[in-house]
């Protein structure tokens, strides 16, 4: 009975906690940079404010522009249904695996890029072009990192990967594991538009990528897209932490186990977020044409991870 509540609980947690996580990273970065920073609850306030405003929409925009916020948030929520945040395996385990998660996120990116082109603004087109460039180059890395994890577990099924790490930690946690997660972390930075690939805090015309596509959005539409962005960030961190270090995930969901799982997830994600805040204060944004080099490094890491898993075999 409890097991059927796990997935609604995951979705609710993602919806509620994601803006707070972003607020935390922003606050940490501000403090590290010697600023005072806005409180953690600031992203919630922004969302509430945006939901109360009117939509200012370009005359040139078509239905794609209006549908995109719902598609992007919808795909992110379905990812929240599939990813083992609190328990593994989930009731909807057979609906989709890790590959499905990757391609669902690509579906969101695809529509976001179309929405960037839709109003005919120069910035939106530029952002769409850059976003698709990075998404295309991140795709092989992501697939190889998935491959490295799957070779160990013998499956791309999320529940099985988690179960395998839990049951056989000594064998799994080798150098291949570490490299696969380093590769996944670089993919996360690229996909979520964090430094050094994209600067989430900038509206500087020539460097923005993600923001450029959202430039024409306002009001509730913008709120949905911002929220989806926060959630994508949260889900990526949660996915990485639960695949790399699944302890705490409920194997037999009960009230106590789930409470522990929520707590463990919070600790892991906050730790990763602190690490990211440190990284982002240390590095500067890369030129767009240096980003492929970063992704090539990540690709090599993933390739080495796969090769290592063969050597260990």
């Amino acid at each position: 009975m409890v097991s059927f509540l796990v997935e609604p609980l995951q979705v609710a947690l993602t919806l509620l906690l994601a803006p707070g996580l972003v607020g935390l990273v922003r606050l940490l970065k501000a403090r590290l940079q010697g600023r005072r920073g806005a409180p953690v609850r600031q992203p919630y306030r922004e969302l509430v404010k945006l939901f109360g405003k009117e939509r200012v929409v370009s005359r040139n925009a078509s239905w794609i522009f209006h549908a995109t916020p719902f598609v992007v948030l919808g795909t992110t929520l379905v990812v929240a249904l599939l990813v083992p945040l609190l328990a593994a395996p989930l009731p909807l385990d057979g609906v989709g695996d890790l590959v499905v998660v990757a391609y669902l996120l690509l579906l969101g990116t695809f529509f976001l890029a179309l929405a960037g082109l839709d109003p005919g603004s120069a910035f939106g087109g530029m952002g769409a072009s850059r976003e698709m460039t990075i998404a295309a180059l991140a795709e092989p890395t992501l697939a190889l990192a998935i491959f490295a994890l799957a070779v160990g577990a013998g499956s791309t099924n999320l529940g099985r990967i988690v179960a395998r790490t839990l049951s056989d930690p000594v064998e799994t946690l080798g150098p291949g594991h570490v490299m696969a997660f380093a590769a996944l972390a670089i993919v996360m930075i690229a996909e979520c538009g964090r430094l050094p690939v994209d600067n989430p805090a900038t509206h500087l015309e020539l460097t923005m990528i993600h923001e450029a596509m959202l430039l024409e959005y306002s009001g509730p539409h913008l709120a949905l897209l911002e929220w989806a962005g926060h959630m994508k960030f949260f889900l990526f961190l949660a996915l990485i932490s639960n695949l790399a270090f699944p302890w705490g995930v409920a194997v037999r969901p009960g009230p106590v186990a789930l409470a522990i799982a929520v707590l463990a997830l919070a600790v892991k994600v906050v730790l990763l977020a602190v690490g990211l805040a440190f990284l982002e204060t240390q590095v500067a944004k890369l030129r767009l044409f240096r980003v492929p080099e970063l992704l090539a490094v990540s690709f090599l890491l993933a390739l080495l991870a796969v090769t290592t898993s063969f050597l260990v075999r």
């Binding site: 929409v57 379905v78 391609y103 690509l106 082109l117 791309t156 044409f289 492929p292």
Partner: protein, 681 residues
């Protein structure tokens, strides 16, 4: 059981009607009969696959070696079904599409209906020839149908021969098709000579007897010959020329149905007649497929001509099909019958999906061409408002080809990724490690395809029109929209019902030697399962989740009272008050970042001319920027071939006098020489 005869007679009647009936009626009746013939073919194919009994049709001859035998088995029926899937909508579409297509510069009036009637007749012959290729049961019938298929499609590409582009494309196509034909004929003759008969049955029963050297030669000849038809790099050069030159419904047929016939040939010869071979056969196919997939999508990305973009994308998709077939051959060579079945199924599944979405996209590009009169992406824009239904169908096709869930492209690419992951469990370390590269290649091709089709949909359909023609575009005729909607529905259904497709494929592959299709493929329920059950997805449930979640979002926002008035304004222009289409990103600019990343491959040329004011160079009058990329690899390869062949061809001119009598003498002499050779050898 319908048999092959009704289909054949319908096509022949269509051809005859086009020539016999006067005026525009001939064209319309021919196209209607082409559709009917394709429908009959589809029904035959489905009944053959369903019943497992082959449809037979023989044309005996008084000379025993000259009989034509046709026997449609399950493998051939799969490809006949694929032809039907594209040909039925294409024939419906053709009626309105080919109407009054009098070229504005050419002679108006009588010329158009006549060429329309000829095209109708050729269309029927083309469909008939394709259907006969996949049902041929002896070497002579196969080669005869194959040549007829090449010639008919050549005529369709060249059209009335008034456009220089079509003529040049036709020349490339004819050259490559005939070189391929020569290789295929050589492969078949080697086999038939060794087997002592030209029936496929005879060859099959003796397939193990030829030595490994001969088998390797036959396989490589067949791979090159069929690869040139499938558009595999580096034999693809005809494809980006021929597809754009042909009328759009023919492009859809050539890309969706004719290219996979190359795959059919490879499976028929490599797996059925030769009974499979060593794993390196598959390795070669896999490598060629991987190169084609990457090369195809990279060139599609930088293309500004919508139909040529789709043609390059066909190279990519056939490359993906070849990757599946190749890994299937590898598993087959290692004696893994269960894995081989899933790998081959993944390849064929992708071929089926490609037929649906590429047929749809070519029909969509034809609708755009009909409405705007241009194939140049830089002159389109804003068509989603003027052609909403075409735009929606094109979007479905673009999302399907970009492998986005829950559409069909995702299902086959997911299965192929799973096959590669299963390949990593092979005991052979090298093969297993190469699987990682195959996964990387497939994922990169998928990512680049997503970027490419954001451009292919976004630039023509979104934002402001970039030309007068795009501004005045109108939605196309209802029958054309119907054809596109049917194919869009096929894209969705093929993705949502993978278990139906897989049970279908289990029957198709069931008869292949060394392929265990029964247990490995079919799963009840709407589930697609990875080899050995290591992972599974349920696309219908996934689609349901997406729909429910999005509906919940919409309703939830309503209930929470988030209404938000909508105010329509100009796009923000940094203070400029009027937005024009010149401020939009262009098709070329969209691909610019990836063009720079892969500059080593594209080797772009730049040509910048600045016209200064005569008084002062601080005033610029005009700037011309020209940049093009060239496929240097093929150009260099074919150039060296050409340089080699040209002196030979020139010396061959010595015997060409133009006298018919002399040519007759040559024929007699050649016949005598071959008879004598046959006696002695």
């Amino acid at each position: 059981m319908i048999g092959l005869l009704p289909m054949i007679t319908t096509y022949l009647a269509g051809s005859a009607a086009a020539i016999a009936l006067p005026g525009d009626r001939g064209r319309r009746v021919a196209q209607a009969l082409a559709g009917a013939g394709a429908l009959l073919g589809l029904a035959t194919a489905l009944s053959v696959i369903g019943s497992g009994k082959a449809a037979v049709f023989d044309l005996p001859s008084s000379v025993p070696a000259l009989g034509l035998a046709f026997r449609l088995d399950a493998l051939g029926a799969f490809f006949l079904a694929l032809i039907g899937l594209v040909a039925v909508p294409a024939a419906i579409y053709a009626d309105a599409y080919t109407k009054e297509e009098a070229p504005p510069s050419g002679t108006p009036g009588k010329a158009a209906p006549r060429s329309g009637r000829l095209a109708g007749a050729t269309l029927n012959l083309f469909l008939l020839a394709m259907s006969l290729v996949v049902s041929a049961a002896n070497v002579l019938a196969f080669l005869f149908a194959w040549e007829a298929m090449s010639l008919a499609s050549y005529l369709l590409v060249v059209g009335d021969g008034e456009k220089a582009e079509s003529v040049s494309a036709g020349r490339w196509y004819a050259g490559m098709a005939h070189a391929g034909f020569g290789l295929i004929a050589a492969a078949f003759f080697l086999l038939a000579a060794r087997a002592g008969g030209d029936g496929f049955e005879t060859i099959r029963s003796l397939s193990s007897s030829p030595g490994p050297a001969l088998r390797n030669v036959v396989f490589l000849l067949a791979l090159l010959g069929f690869g040139s038809k499938a558009g595999i790099v580096p034999l693809h050069v005809w494809l980006p020329r021929a597809h754009p030159a042909a009328p759009s419904h023919v492009s859809a047929l050539m890309s969706g149905a004719m290219l996979p016939i190359g795959v059919y040939g490879l499976l028929r010869v490599g797996l059925d007649l030769l009974g499979g071979g060593p794993p390196w056969w598959g390795g070669v196919v896999l490598a060629l497929g991987a190169v084609s997939a990457l090369k195809g999508v990279l060139y599609a990305l930088t293309e500004q001509d919508l139909k040529r973009l789709l043609a390059y994308s066909s190279i990519e998709n056939l490359g993906i099909v070849f990757m599946g077939i190749g890994i299937g051959f590898v598993f087959h060579g290692h004696g893994r019958a269960d894995l081989a079945a899933v790998a081959l199924a993944a390849g064929l599944y992708h071929a089926l999906n490609h037929a649906a979405f590429k047929g749809l996209l070519f029909l969509g590009s034809g609708a755009v061409l009909k409405a705007t009169g241009t194939r140049n992406l830089e002159e389109m824009g804003g068509l989603i408002k003027r052609m909403p239904q075409t735009a929606a169908c094109f979007l479905v096709g673009a999302a399907a080809i970009a492998a986005l869930p829950p559409l069909n492209g995702f299902a086959s690419e997911w299965l192929l990724l799973q096959v590669f992951m299963a390949g990593a469990s092979l005991p052979e370390g090298l093969t297993a490690a190469l699987m990682a590269l195959a996964v990387g290649t497939l994922a990169l091709a998928g990512g680049l395809a997503a970027a490419c089709f954001v451009k292919a949909f976004g630039i023509p359909f979104l934002a402001l029109p970039r030309s007068r023609a795009a501004e005045e575009a109108r939605e196309v005729a209802g029958s054309m929209r119907f054809a596109m909607i049917a194919l869009a529905a096929a894209c969705a259904l093929l993705g949502l019902a993978p278990s139906v497709v897989m049970s279908f494929l289990a029957r198709v592959l069931g008869g292949m030697p060394g392929v265990d299709a029964g247990g490995a493929l079919f799963r009840p329920g709407s589930v697609l399962e990875a080899p050995q059950g290591s992972s599974r997805i349920a696309p219908p449930l996934l689609a349901l989740c997406l729909i429910v979640v999005i509906a919940a979002l919409v309703v939830g926002l309503r209930l929470l009272g988030v209404r938000g008035r909508t105010r329509l304004v100009e796009t923000w222009g940094c203070g400029r008050t009027v937005q024009t289409s010149r401020m939009e990103i262009t098709s070329m600019a969209f691909a610019e970042p990836l063009r720079r990343v892969f500059a080593g491959l594209y080797r772009p040329t730049k040509d910048l001319t600045i016209g200064f004011h005569p008084e002062s160079k601080y005033f610029v009058r005009s700037i011309t920027y020209r940049s093009r990329i060239r496929s240097w690899f093929e150009e260099d390869l074919y150039r060296s071939f050409y340089d080699l062949l040209r002196p030979l061809a020139a010396s061959g001119r010595l015997i060409q006098s133009g006298s018919v009598h002399l040519y007759l003498a040559y024929i007699v002499a050649a016949l005598l020489i071959f008879l004598l050779l046959g006696r002695w050898l």
